[in-house]
């Protein structure tokens, strides 16, 4: 399955802003009640604020022009009461809407992370880690900025604008329509320009992703850059990415800012219309001076938020471009679904490959028609030159991938019918590249292991000693409490492999796969590991992948893996012969 997001985004047709928004709104479908109350608060609040200019205009016409100061005071008292009420509704409005926004962001982040957890290893191999991290971090941050800062202003401005528009029309439909006509031009202009702006922003986001990937790669491998004296190279490569980012940013920046002066322009035109057309209407006796003052206020109340909205619209477009990239991830489905329970075959081997074919891409098949069986309690070795398919075979045993053709049977059932939980309990896999989480050795050894969660250090040490792992733990300076970092060289690769080894053994799997899991461990410690492996419960099946032959001398059976074929080697000597004759294909 194709998980390459950059390729996918080229294939996918552009979704409209509206469609994207609708998908986003589905995330808050359950907040209907809050939304209704919030909308009510917004409505009341806007009405209260907008009645102000009308009452002022009315006061001018009726009392100021007729020199009735008591009337002025009377209306002022009414206004005061309204403003006090608005104090309350405005607070409610912000709190409710903002709350919805925050919860939406929360749900959104959760669903992205959840999706990331559901996707298979193939997804992570086909995408650059740096690009993925940028996608998830930066793009959610764009949405974060929108939800935590812009949304409230957005709602407030829209409600004021709509309210002012309504009042403009209601008071005098002719003048109202004339005042609003520049807004129609703005609307059309916005609709016309939006796709262009969105495209510019998408381009920019892509170059930001590229730049992050560049930085990530260089910084994580900085020691190579120093050792090969390629600091200039880092600078050069970064400068290229930086310059490209600058170029696309200018493009998106100019596109995003185009509205600000245009909006201001039409707002002023509207004022001019109010003034001239209003005075004309007054002269024909269809309007009043007081209302003209109200109208000037309303037109400001209508166009000022519009200008703000232009700026917010940018944030909104940015957020939507981010959302686009995120929803690409969200729309992916795992290609490793759990199948319905099928037939269980009796008297079957623990694990069996039946005519398995596999390739990471459709074009290039790595494994051709592989058949073999693994029996319970035995030790198997996979040997062969590099690039022959050993790791790929192991990955299929652990169902990191599904075969393109053929079956993998675990305990007489198709491996695809097992839940991830059952399968991972049965199969332990020590990966070629050990991965640690930032934390202590204890955190890492117990990672994902429910068995010993509440154990104190003493209890856990006893468990470790009982599992014959005590000698390995002793290698760590501060024992279980030794601090390790996920990245960097806080501990050696060999030590990382030891942690991965302990982690896998304590999980007590039925099949334990070691993919060159001891490659960087010295031979004495390796001897310890092999003793530990021998002392594993008699029912444990071991699958060992190694170059170093001493690690496989105790194997019950040896498979020679080369050019995508798995051949049973009979004895260690046979394996030697094959290795000697086997042409290296890599």
């Amino acid at each position: 399955m194709n998980y390459d997001l950059n390729k996918l985004s080229q294939e996918q047709q552009k979704t409209s802003t509206f469609a994207g928004l609708r998908k986003l709104l589905q995330l808050i479908a359950h907040e209907k009640r809050t939304l209704i109350i919030a909308l009510f608060a917004i409505l009341v609040n806007s009405t209260l604020n907008l009645l102000g200019p009308l009452i002022i205009g009315h006061t001018i016409d009726k009392y100021v022009q007729h020199k009735d100061f008591t009337g002025v005071l009377h209306n002022a008292a009414i206004l005061l009461c309204m403003f006090l009420a608005a104090l309350f509704t405005s607070n409610k409005q912000t709190k409710l809407m903002g709350g919805v926004g925050q919860r939406m962001l929360f749900t959104l982040r959760n669903s992205i992370f959840n999706k990331l957890q559901q996707l298979p290893v193939g997804f992570f191999n086909q995408n650059k880690a740096g690009d993925l991290i940028s996608r998830v971090n930066n793009d959610t941050d764009k949405l974060n900025q929108f939800f935590s800062q812009s949304l409230m202003q957005f709602i407030g401005n829209i409600s004021t604008m709509v309210g002012a528009g309504v009042f403009l029309i209601l008071i005098n439909i002719e003048l109202g329509a004339a005042t609003l006509s520049p807004a129609v031009v703005i609307l059309v202009l916005t609709l016309v320009l939006s796709p262009w702006i969105k495209r510019k922003n998408a381009l920019n986001l892509k170059s930001v992703g590229g730049m992050s990937a560049e930085i990530q790669e260089s910084l994580n491998n900085f020691k190579v850059i120093i050792a090969f004296n390629r600091r200039d190279y880092f600078r050069k490569r970064f400068d290229i990415a930086n310059q490209e980012n600058y170029r696309t940013s200018i493009g998106s920046g100019l596109a995003n800012n185009v509205f600000v002066p245009v909006y201001g322009f039409f707002a002023s035109i509207a004022q001019l219309i109010v003034l001239t057309f209003g005075i004309y209407l007054i002269s024909t006796g269809r309007f009043s001076l007081g209302l003209l003052v109200s109208y000037l206020s309303y037109s400001t109340l209508f166009y000022n938020p519009l200008r703000q909205l232009a700026a917010l619209w940018t944030n909104f477009q940015l957020a939507m471009a981010g959302w686009d990239r995120i929803s690409q991830i969200l729309s992916l489905e795992t290609d490793l679904p759990q199948l319905q329970e099928g037939i269980t075959e009796q008297n079957s081997a623990l694990l069996e490959f039946r005519h398995v074919h596999f390739g990471y891409t459709e074009e290039r098949e790595i494994l051709h028609n592989i058949c073999f069986t693994l029996e319970q309690g035995k030790t198997y070795a996979l040997v062969g030159p590099t690039g022959g398919g050993k790791t790929t075979t192991a990955s299929l045993i652990a169902r990191l991938y599904d075969p393109s053709k053929g079956l993998v049977m675990l305990d007489g059932k198709d491996i695809r019918t097992y839940s991830a939980e059952e399968r991972s309990k049965k199969i332990g896999f020590i990966l070629q590249e050990p991965f640690l989480f930032t934390g202590t050795v204890k955190d890492n050894i117990l990672y994902g292991n429910d068995l010993y969660v509440n154990h104190t250090n003493e209890q856990l040490e006893k468990v470790i000693v009982d599992a014959n792992l005590g000698s390995l733990l002793a290698i760590f300076e501060a024992g279980l409490d030794t601090e390790v970092l996920s990245s960097g060289d806080s501990i050696s690769l060999g030590q990382k492999q030891l942690i991965a080894f302990m982690r896998a053994v304590l999980r007590n799997p039925q099949i334990l796969i070691l993919d060159e899991a001891t490659a960087n461990i010295d031979t004495i410690t390796e001897k310890l590991l092999s003793d530990i492996l021998n002392k594993l419960p008699a029912t444990t099946t071991r699958v060992i992948i190694a170059h170093r032959l001493n690690t496989i001398e105790n194997a019950d059976e040896i498979f020679f893996v080369n050019s995508g074929e798995v051949i049973r080697a009979g004895s260690l000597n046979d394996a030697m012969d094959m290795l000697l004759q086997g042409k290296r294909v890599s």
Binding site: N49, L73, F83, L84, A86, S90, N91, T94, F106, F113, L116, Q117, F124, N125, K128, G130, I133, N137, D141, N144, M152, G156, L219, F222, V224, I225, F228, R231, F234, R235, N242, Y246, G253, L254, N257, P261, V262, G264, L275, V293, S297, P385, T386, E433, F435, T438, Y447, S486, S487, Q495, A519, N520, D522, T523, I524, R548, E553, M576, V585, S586
Partner: protein, 584 residues
């Protein structure tokens, strides 16, 4: 104005404003355009007021008004359009230059600095932090200056119309300003904390992406999700707390502004009634009030941006202000290849990684360093490449301290094959010819020596095939051999191998070592390894345990003198027959 000033001047140096110095020309132009367009904007209510008054006094000339107004509107449009263009260029240039400065600084730092500063944090510095400064330049700067201008300008105009009413209206500014000041002070603290939570959130995401394979093998997705949920919930709570402050702030500000409107109505109405003010002026007051409120709002929100930009700039400054690694080395002579460690110790905090290690390697010799995991072997090699500095003692090349060498010249003569596979996301050619001094000839020689020829020929684009990040499309052995070719391509005088044999099969390994001897005669070879069999014939074998040299000598000597060595030898003995078999 007094109310907004303290917020800015209270900032501890380095102020984010200092960043703008080199862009004074652009900034001046930017502010000029902003002020011009705003200045004309301020004049508009005056035009309207005179229109209303003219009408009331029955000498209204329509054409006049339209002309004046249209002129003003067009001028505003042109200036504000120019302003947005310059704004974009200025902010992007500041961002680009800042990134360049950062990357330049980072590129000159030591390995230890990068490890300590943490690549993930540096990435944030280069992206999110720079972005918030960009936002400051593109939005905050102009908004603040124009807002202040409008507030001051409108106030002055109000005074010229009616000073008593102006005084009453302007009284709202300190009230609104004070509220903003109080709220934002609290919000800022929350922002900083919530940023920390977001960092935590990102850390969980990063680890879950980098450790994706492990998480799937162990089926610990739920565990990761729970970690994420915890951080995400905390982020949400901070968000809601910040929201709470704003929910208090906005109504108060609106209410205060409304009270000003009410004052205009009552006081202004009174003045109009007793004839001391015209109706047009009364309308102008209303217009100016709405002009006045907006900038105050904006100032408030912008001070948020400033706070964020300042926080970002402080973080960036810690990187920019980090002391440079002193580049004092001047020796550029060609190395003979004598390598010596003199009583070298290395401490990580209290923890010794190497203790009083001394060794001498004459030019052209082959020596092996053998020892258990965590013995300090890799650190030894890092010392030899100047990636880290010893806590005490000296590293000497040809009798000169390693620090005395010009680093460019030094690194072009010392090849290092790292233990972990580091493949860059670029073509195989670039991955191997990683240094720019590599000629085609030495590239070809390196490829042949590393036995990569067959592999490269089998690739679709041969040398130009792009290999992916973390090299996931290559096997472990292929990656190791590419790394070897990379080290050989510089034609080194000294070659350092860190556990090179771990992922390469014995057969290939033998071939490669023979190739090296043939193609790179006179090369000093220091190999950290686990396998005695492949180094038995080396000129010297050093046994390193827990940071100390416990034995040294040629294989036969060690077999008689070091029980530790014999123990390691025996642990490998059972299969060494086979390995020998492969060699011949």
């Amino acid at each position: 104005m007094q109310t907004t000033d303290p917020q800015k001047t209270n900032k501890k140096p380095p102020s984010v404003f200092s960043l703008l110095k080199p862009y004074m020309g652009l900034v001046t132009l930017l502010l000029l355009f902003a002020l011009l367009s705003n200045g004309v904007n301020l004049w508009l209510p005056k035009v309207i007021a005179s229109g209303i008054d003219d009408y009331a006094q029955k000498h209204f000339v329509l054409n006049d008004i339209i002309k004046k107004f249209s002129l003003a509107v067009v001028i505003v449009f042109i200036f504000s359009y120019l302003q947005t263009i310059i704004q974009t260029y200025a902010s992007e240039r500041v961002a680009r230059d800042l990134r360049s400065r950062l990357s330049d600084k980072i590129s000159r730092q030591s390995h230890a600095f990068i490890e300590q500063a943490n690549p993930a944090k540096l990435l944030t510095n280069l992206t999110a932090d720079v972005d918030s400064i960009k936002l400051f330049v593109s939005q905050a700067l102009v908004s603040i200056v124009s807002s202040l201008f409008i507030i001051i300008g409108a106030s002055i105009l109000l005074f010229t119309i009616n000073w008593r009413l102006a005084l009453a209206v302007i009284a709202i500014i300190p009230i609104i300003g004070g509220t903003f000041f109080y709220v934002l002070k609290n919000v800022r603290a929350l922002f900083i904390k919530s940023r920390g939570v977001i960092d935590q959130l990102n850390k969980v995401i990063n680890e879950s992406i980098l450790g994706a394979a492990l998480i799937r093998v162990i089926n610990s997705q739920q565990l990761e999700y729970n970690k994420f949920l915890l951080a995400n919930t905390e982020a949400k709570e901070y968000g809601l707390r910040i929201l709470g402050f704003f929910a208090g702030l906005i109504p108060i500000v609106t209410f205060t502004a409304n009270m000003a409107g009410l004052t205009i109505l009552v006081m202004g109405g009174h003045f109009v009634i007793n004839g001391s003010m015209t109706l047009g002026s009364f309308a102008a007051f209303n217009s100016y009030l709405s002009l006045l409120i907006f900038p105050i709002f904006i100032l408030g929100f912008m001070s948020n941006l400033i706070a964020q930009a300042s926080a970002s700039f402080t973080r960036i400054s810690t990187v920019l202000d980090a002391p440079d690694v002193a580049q004092t080395g001047t020796i550029t002579e060609t190395l003979r290849g004598d390598v010596e460690l003199k009583d070298v110790s290395l401490f990580y905090g209290q923890k010794p990684a190497l203790k009083n290690v001394s060794l001498k390697v004459p030019a052209g010799a082959k020596i092996a360093v053998i020892g258990p995991t965590a013995a300090g072997k890799t650190q030894l090699l890092y010392l030899l490449t100047n990636l880290i500095n010893p806590s005490s003692g000296e590293v000497l090349y040809d009798g000169h301290n390693i620090g005395a060498y010009d680093s460019e010249s030094f690194h072009s003569q010392v090849g290092f094959v790292f233990q972990d596979s580091i493949i860059f996301n670029m073509s195989i050619r670039e991955n191997i010819a990683f240094s720019d001094t590599v000629t085609d000839e030495s590239l070809e020689k390196a490829i042949d020596t590393a036995e990569l020829r067959d592999f490269i020929v089998s690739l679709p684009d041969h040398l130009n095939t792009v290999v992916s990040e973390r090299g996931s499309s290559l096997s472990g052995g292929q990656k190791q051999r590419i790394m070897l070719a990379r080290a050989l391509a510089v034609n080194p005088k000294v070659l350092l191998l860190d556990d090179f044999t771990a992922r390469v099969d014995t057969n290939t390994e033998k071939k490669i070592l023979t190739n090296i001897q043939k193609n790179y005669p006179g090369l000093t070879l220091i190999s950290v390894t686990q396998k005695i069999a492949s180094v038995e014939h080396y000129d010297q074998i050093i046994l390193l345990m827990q940071g100390e040299v416990v034995a040294r000598g040629v294989h036969d000597e060690l077999m008689h003198t070091s029980t530790d060595y014999v123990q390691i030898f025996n642990s490998q003995q059972s299969t060494s027959n086979y390995e020998q078999g492969i060699a011949h």
